[in-house]
């Protein structure tokens, strides 16, 4: 353990300015897309969850919704872990 920590510490950390730049580039790419296109993705996300809630209990089951915006194409990823151990985790992947 210790020895790994040692190597991790030895790796030079990106400067805080470099981290600032990277974070800005990511967040602004998202914001720019949502500015130009009519933004139905948040609504789609909400309605999808409503549909899922009709069949599974969202409160007790693991549901993960991830929205990835890109310049060319955005991905809405919904991962639902269903209660029964016999059923494999269902994955829905919708490319928009």
């Amino acid at each position: 353990m210790r020895i790994f920590d040692f190597f991790r510490a030895a790796k030079p950390q990106a400067s805080s300015a470099a981290q600032a730049k990277e974070r800005l580039q990511i967040v602004m790419a998202h914001e720019r897309v949502s500015r130009t296109a009519p933004d139905f993705l948040p609504v789609l996300q909400k309605e999808l969850l409503a549909v899922i809630a009709k069949y599974v209990d969202l409160a007790t089951n693991k549901v993960e919704v991830k929205l990835d915006r890109g310049n060319e194409c955005s991905t809405l990823e919904v991962n639902i872990e269903l209660p029964s151990p016999k059923i494999e985790p269902m994955r829905a992947r919708i490319a928009v």
Partner: protein, 271 residues
């Protein structure tokens, strides 16, 4: 017909008023008849920065409401020819700025002046929208700091979508980046975004880099636009930026840390 320029940023406290005063003074020094208008209704400050706070009788809102004539409200600068200030009201709120009222005043001013500079309030609400709505050109004042850069991008979005030029499908508002409070030493240590990074993120042409400078506070203390302090780095950087705005090709100074020798340091204590 004069040009309408908005000094805008989204984020507060980044240097819009300082830059409005500096640019207005710089244009006037170059012989252009210039007026600078305070759009920050309720938080009047341009008068203090320009040093004319005791000469305010009528204001921008009085003109919009037809309670006074334009030349009763315009304050002529005592130091520089061709320079006028139109202060704003301290008592009313931003709703006092109607689109029709603002348009009437700006149209009248652009008949008489070469440059009309609109000092925008912070935010993206009515006051900021009114300040940018009629603009021909926009100077985006940005600090090398994450929230300022992000807010600048939002303002660029507003200029592209909600300005008069955008609504009428005219040629878009011309955008310029003014990076202020730049600290080259911190940039060199990797503690501050550098000018290339900000340019890469915002992707608009660079008008100038104004270094962090103690002269700015000193100038505002005495109500003097920092352009008039031609010994200061900030004053010189503003003069360069103004010259670039007027089409001159000038290299960017003050982007590298100053290497000062011991004697130099003694002789020039201030930035």
């Amino acid at each position: 017909m004069g040009k309408i320029i908005v000094m805008t940023s989204g984020k507060g406290g980044v240097g819009k008023t300082t830059s409005s005063a500096a640019f207005a003074t710089g244009f006037a020094l170059r012989g252009y008849k210039t007026v600078v208008i305070d759009f920050d209704v309720g938080l009047r400050n341009l008068d203090l920065v320009m040093g004319c706070e005791r000469r305010v009788v009528f204001d921008f809102i009085n003109i919009i409401n037809g309670e006074a004539r334009l030349n009763q409200a315009l304050i002529k600068d005592k130091r520089v020819d061709n320079l006028y200030i139109l202060p704003t009201s301290q008592t009313r709120d931003k709703d006092a700025l109607t689109k029709e009222g603002v348009e009437k005043v700006l149209e009248e001013l652009r008949q008489e002046f070469d440059y009309v500079i609109c000092d925008s309030p912070a935010g993206i609400e009515r006051g900021a929208l009114m300040a940018l709505y009629f603009a021909d050109e926009a100077i985006i004042v940005t600090n090398p700091e994450v929230s300022s850069v992000r807010d600048s991008d939002r303002i660029l979005g507003m200029l592209a979508a909600r300005s008069r030029r955008a609504e009428l499908n005219e040629e878009p508002v011309k955008e310029h980046l003014l990076l202020t409070r730049y600290d080259p030493a911190r940039v060199e240590r990797g503690e501050m975004l550098n000018v290339t990074d900000v340019l890469e993120i915002l992707a608009i042409p660079l008008l100038g880099v104004i270094p962090e400078s103690q002269a700015v506070l000193r100038a505002s203390n005495i109500g003097m636009p920092v352009t008039l302090d031609d010994k200061s780095t900030a004053g010189q950087a503003y003069r360069d930026a103004i010259a670039r705005f007027l089409g001159e090709q000038i290299e960017h100074r003050f982007v590298k840390p100053e290497r000062r020798g011991f004697f130099n340091r003694l002789l020039r204590r201030t930035a």
